[in-house]
């Protein structure tokens, strides 16, 4: 929690002009179960903000509280500086893109998009103009008269987006909007979504459990776990400097090696080897810690450079991914390391190591994180 609040004070990379959303000690309980546990959060205007976490971590509940579908048990929600806990969803200047899209099957695409404007009693000709604009924005101008059931998954997703954006909300909430799409379409939509967000400049709050999606699209990410925010920061920061084991483990594959702090800058791991590592100041000798090294930071055999920490082990498996190969090395006594070896212009990633081979592995000390 502490780290999260500290991170809040950092300016957004996009340099927003004020605060779109502020959560203060927001808690949501369902009976005995606490879904969201006293979170604080501040999201500047124009930011693409992601709530990332496994299912059940409270990210969707948080989003629903922003939309007004749930009332916080405690705490305050400020939207553009105004408290909105008591404001019903239909009077909040936020719009949501639902995971299921929740399109209205009895209306055609244009009427779906016009729904919000009609509720707000926008003049008829303006509705027409804005609907056309919104459909152009999501490249669906030609499908205005189609029924949602006649559209593909990706197209439905765009209609849902247009339907929300056409109202020019202060904040757009997206609840795993790409979850139902296949991988290729998903990648494509990620790019488009990001592009659209830049174009319209609206604050996006994006809920996802897909770390890759969050990393590639967001300006900032809040990683949630068990109803609290574990870490909040820019993608690079969260990826490169996870502040706890959960974050390191959840974002990307991470090697975790258990060890005991021997003294400043030195950790003894299970195999008995002492390793040089950036032990945080607040760790004392004797503390149990996890050493985290990203697979792509691990070098094997001839790739090892001077200054690396070196160990030996045996290749136990080799999984070919095309662009790279995932190699698992057993260091002994059940400690495993996963390394990703890129294919290069000279060699395929696959043919350099065989299972059972003795290899050396190594990494630069600064690529190793010590997590409690």
């Amino acid at each position: 929690m502490e780290q999260a609040t500290v991170n809040e004070t950092q300016p957004s990379p996009e340099g927003g002009n004020g605060e779109a959303i502020r959560l203060e000690g927001v808690t949501k309980r369902f009976g005995d179960f606490t879904a969201v546990d006293a979170i604080d959060l501040s999201i500047p205007r124009g930011e693409f903000f992601s709530l990332l976490g496994p299912s059940g971590c409270g990210k969707t509940t948080t989003l629903r509280m922003l939309a007004g579908f749930e009332v916080p048990s405690e705490g305050r929600i400020l939207l553009e500086g105004e408290p909105v806990e008591d404001v019903p969803p239909y009077r909040r200047n936020v719009n949501m893109v639902f995971q299921s899209y929740a399109l209205f099957g009895h209306l055609d695409v244009a009427d779906n998009v016009a729904f919000g404007l009609k509720r707000r009693k926008v003049p008829k000709d303006e509705i027409g103009r804005r609907v056309d604009e919104a459909l152009e924005l999501v490249s669906l101008g030609s499908r205005a008269k189609s029924r949602p059931s006649e559209l593909s998954g990706g197209q439905r997703q765009r209609v849902a987006l247009a339907r929300a954006l056409v109202n020019r909300p202060a904040v757009l909430l997206l609840d795993e909007p790409l979850g139902a799409l296949d991988l290729k379409l998903r990648r494509q939509m990620q790019v488009e979504l990001k592009q659209i967000q830049r174009e319209v400049g609206i604050t996006f709050v994006y809920v996802t459990h897909d770390q890759e999606e969050a990393l590639s699209m967001s300006d900032r990410i809040a990683v949630m776990s068990d109803g609290r925010i574990a870490q909040c920061g820019a993608p690079e920061e969260v990826y490169e400097h996870p502040n706890e084991e959960f974050v390191a483990g959840f974002i990307g594959i991470s090697n975790m090696i258990e060890g005991v702090v021997e003294g400043p800058g030195s950790v003894k791991i299970g195999t008995g080897k002492r390793i040089q590592a950036p032990v945080p100041a607040d760790c004392d000798a004797g503390d149990t810690v996890q050493l985290s090294v990203r697979p792509e930071k691990i070098a094997i055999d001839e790739e090892i450079e001077a200054g690396m920490i070196e160990m030996t082990g045996r290749v136990v498996s080799r999984i070919y991914h095309g662009v790279n190969t995932q190699i698992t090395v057993e260091l002994g006594q059940g400690a495993h390391l996963v390394a990703l070896e890129q294919a290069t212009y000279t060699a395929s990633a696959d043919d350099r190591w065989e299972e059972g081979m003795e290899v050396r592995v190594g990494w630069h000390p600064e690529n190793c994180l010590v997590l409690r």
């Binding site: 019903p88 969803p89 209205f104 099957g105 729904f115 509720r119 339907r163 109202n167």
Partner: protein
Amino acid sequence: MTGVPPTTVGSGPLGKRKAKAREDGFDRPRFLRVYSWFVYLYLFIPIAVVVIFSFNSVKSLQSFQGFSLQWYDEFLSDPTLRESLFVSLRIALITMIIATIIGTMLAIGLVRAKTRWSPAANVLMLIPLVTPEIVAGISALLIFSQLGIQLSFWTIVIAHITFSISYVTVVVRGRLASMGDEVEQAAMDLGATRLQAVRLVLVPELWPAIVAAGLLTFALSFDDFVLSFFTTGEDIQPLPVRIWSAIRFGVSPTINAIGTLMMVVSLTAVVAAVLLPRFFGRKESGIKVLTGQEE
């Protein structure tokens, strides 16, 4: 049924149809098809008898002597029988409208409201479906007598509505449960109040199920005998009650004409239940709604 990959079929005569599975044991399309044909035959022979003999030129159910419309003529020229037909239609229509409204609301409440009483309401709603009709008829007769309400057209309607609400609720609830609540939330998110969300989105989304449930109710009410029998009073009796009185003391082929006409009315309702949703631009058919297997 999906996921049954086409495999080769041994026998040739199945040619016309795309047979999709191996023929062996119980799971043998040809055996099943013959069996099914017999069941269909069993179901339709009495219907055929009713229809054919309604055109018989003599008063016999044993031999068909020639084509004639005299039984229809006799039915239509008897003003009280004709009136009975209209009474049956009116009862069915009013039952359909009121039961559909109440039943749909109940379905919405059961799925959306989470109060202490919803499990109780849930049980309450299901009981009429498993109560023999004679019990419902008797209890309706008792309550009307007790309240000093004269048995009439309206007592029949009330009894029919009581029984029909559950059918509507079950059909609509199935559709509603498969829909999830995100659609109304989306409507509210877009600025619709709760009532607007119900009126502008929820009801239109449920419309095929509502239409199907309503027409089903219409057909059930139109054909109902037991409830009408117990609750009919001084007003003109609905047709099935007239049929019962007639059947117990010898019968004239007019019954066949009446039966045929009633079938036409009920079938119209059912066919409408199947086809109407298409006019609302839905892909799912009413049959799918009725048998509860859309999406």
